[in-house]
Amino acid sequence: MTVADLQSAGEARRPAIDVLAPEIMDMAFGLIRVLDDEGNPHGPWIGDLGVDELVEILTTMFTTRAFDARMMKAQRQGKTSFSMGSRGEEAIGAVTATVMGAHDMCFPTYRQASYLLGRGRDPLAMMNQVYGNAADENLGTQISGLYTSSEFGFLSISGNLATQMPQAVGWAMAAKIKGDPTVALAFVGDGSTAESDMHAALTFASTYTPPVIVAIVNNQYAISTDEEVARGSAQTFAQRGIGYGLPSLRVDGNDVLAVHGATSWARDRALAGHGPTVIEFVTYRGSAHSSSDDPTRYRPEDEFDEFPLGDPIKRLRLYLQNRGFSNDQANALDEQIRNMIEAKNEEAEAIGTINTGERPSLRHTFELVYETMPPHLIRQRQEAGI
């Protein structure tokens, strides 16, 4: 694990939003950081987030962590077949959710629960999806954690890695064609940058310069493999963007202010017609890859504690303390959220889990293939006895 070329808080400059890519090539090798280890903010990326907004972000992060932990527990209890968490990465989704506009669109991976929660999705709805129960708005079509929410501008998550990337670029191309003042935000994992889709996305972004933010979440691991397997000889993932002539930033993903500053900058840029931005968010996958994974087979157990960028929740709490939101207040908030999650989970379990309660009908399986069920599916549905 390398977090190459760590810059200290406040060191990275903040260019004008109409800056040209060649002028900031160095920023793909640096690291935009605002908060230092004592929770003090530095430099041009500080921004002006108020305590209320910060507490809202903290709320989302607490919610995500409690939600993840609860769902992992449910998986261990055999109540769902699968669970994927985002411990340690919560800042990225929680913060970007507050930056993006009402009509912007997020193209997520399976590790952006904090984005969806940050946009206002009810955890209960997400639990129903995890349990694939009768109240699952996904109607049982997808494995646990592959949420969808057009209401909250969150594309249905694909089980196929990176496929959302060219779609995000296409969505942004459409925005540009229509003249809509909207921006696409696409997330991709470090490992998934190796997929073909990433190249198509960056090539089309480079050619058509639509309003899109390409966010690479470098959480240090794919499944068992270190981020280096995808990064290869390059020093950073932000560097990929340079190859396409796109402005590329590397950002401390566990630093709420840095994430906020960089994403706002990129969004302003996109809205002003200056085109795409590539951002590598450096973070750490604190959880196992999924409930099917055993990380002790490939990394030291205490590695997260040693991670130089720390835990985003701890860091935000420290900063908030400096802003007058006390540790006790934070603890109370955390506890209140845990209770809320526990209560929602009871509600969800009461509706049903993978092996209790009713499930969405097989009828949906037939109905969701085409807009109108064609004759062969009507017949098969009948054969299936429903």
Binding site: P166, A200, P375
Partner: protein, 347 residues
């Protein structure tokens, strides 16, 4: 030809290329969300000229060139569709669709399903298919079975200009992803498999009479290209014309069904005919094993078992890549189709 109505406007002679262009034109005129793009599809108008004039008329924002990435073409098309557009994407040759296949199969086809209808992907992906132009193994393929196996896709293939236009308009208006296969060998005329004869242009064929305006040929409906009593021939694309020729040279009174939409299939048209004739020949250019003919054969025997008087015959491309020098020995021409008909009659 039956779907023409007055509102479709005056009739013009069109090649299939012109008919496809006209479908784009009509739809781009009617609906600002329709956009067309692909490799060389912009200023150049496509290597087969199917998008010619669109950029001039509708501007670079609505008809444009793309980088050479079929993945990017399909992937961005899906993204545009998610943002309310109606993208019509061109793949230069079907042989080059494979880099975009994942986006078609894993994304476009399943978007509605996986999101429980929360998102849809109404894209049209056009691509020229089939042999007969000395294109060798990379400009001659007929990959329709790779699409018909995929739940969530609509797969269409016209055999003449009138259908091509009406079907493409239906495809653009559909709310499901449509794979629109264009048999390139009949772009300019109804090629009947005799490659030594001069090509008959569409201007000499009634199916080249195409209304200039808006009309639709419905998805999921086959057409009877020739009525007959002795044997049912199930086919599509270029092979419709080759089968007509085979009927002529053999004198067999074949009922030739032009399937037009492969998925969803017009099973009723098929079974009605086979139950009557009791014999069935399936004809396509694609390689035989696991070709779409296999599915047709399976369904016909499931539905018409007790009416069949002889084994169903498949006439298809041999199970090899498409050769170059040996093109006309390889192509399932009128003689092979004729033999297939006679075999079905003997049975």
């Amino acid at each position: 030809m039956t779907n023409t109505d007055e509102s479709a406007g005056p009739i013009s002679k069109m090649t299939m290329i012109e008919a496809i262009r006209s479908a784009h034109h009509v739809m781009m005129e009617r609906d600002a969300s329709v956009v067309a793009f692909g490799e060389d599809a912009g200023a150049f108008g496509g290597v087969f000229r199917c998008t010619e004039g669109l950029q001039e008329r509708f501007g670079e924002a609505r008809c444009f060139d793309t980088p050479i990435s079929e993945l990017g073409i399909v992937g961005t098309a899906i993204g545009m569709a998610l943002n309310g557009m109606r993208p019509v994407a061109e793949i230069q040759f079907a042989d080059y669709m494979y880099p975009g296949y994942d986006q078609i199969v894993s994304e476009a086809a399943r978007m509605r399903f996986r999101s429980a209808g929360d998102f849809t992907s109404p894209i049209v992906v056009r691509m020229p298919v089939g042999g007969g132009i000395y294109g060798g193994n990379t400009h001659s393929q007929s990959p329709e079975a790779l699409f018909t196996h995929v739940a969530g896709l609509v797969t269409m293939i016209p055999s003449n200009p009138y259908d091509a236009k009406g079907m493409l308009i239906s495809a653009i208006e559909a709310n499901d992803p449509v794979i629109f296969l264009e048999p390139k060998r009949v772009y300019n005329g109804p090629f009947d498999g005799d490659h030594d004869k001069p090509l008959v242009p569409w201007s000499k064929d009634p199916r080249g009479e195409v209304p200039e305006g808006y009309y639709k040929v419905p998805i999921g409906k086959a057409a009877i290209a020739r009525r007959g009593d002795e044997v049912t021939v199930l086919t599509y694309g270029t092979m419709v014309h080759v089968a007509m020729n085979a009927a002529e040279i053999t004198g067999v009174d074949a009922e030739i069904i032009d399937l037009r939409t492969l998925l969803p299939l017009d099973l009723e048209a098929i079974t009605t005919s086979v139950r009557r004739t009791g014999r069935c020949v399936i004809v396509h250019e694609a390689t035989r094993t696991s070709g779409f003919g296999a599915e047709l054969s399976a369904q016909v025997q499931e539905e018409c078992f007790y009416s069949l008087e002889a084994p169903i015959v498949r006439v298809a491309g041999w199970d090899t890549p498409y050769p170059y020098s040996q093109e006309w020995e390889y192509f399932p021409g009128p003689q092979r189709v004729a033999d297939g008909m006679l075999q079905a009659l003997k049975g």
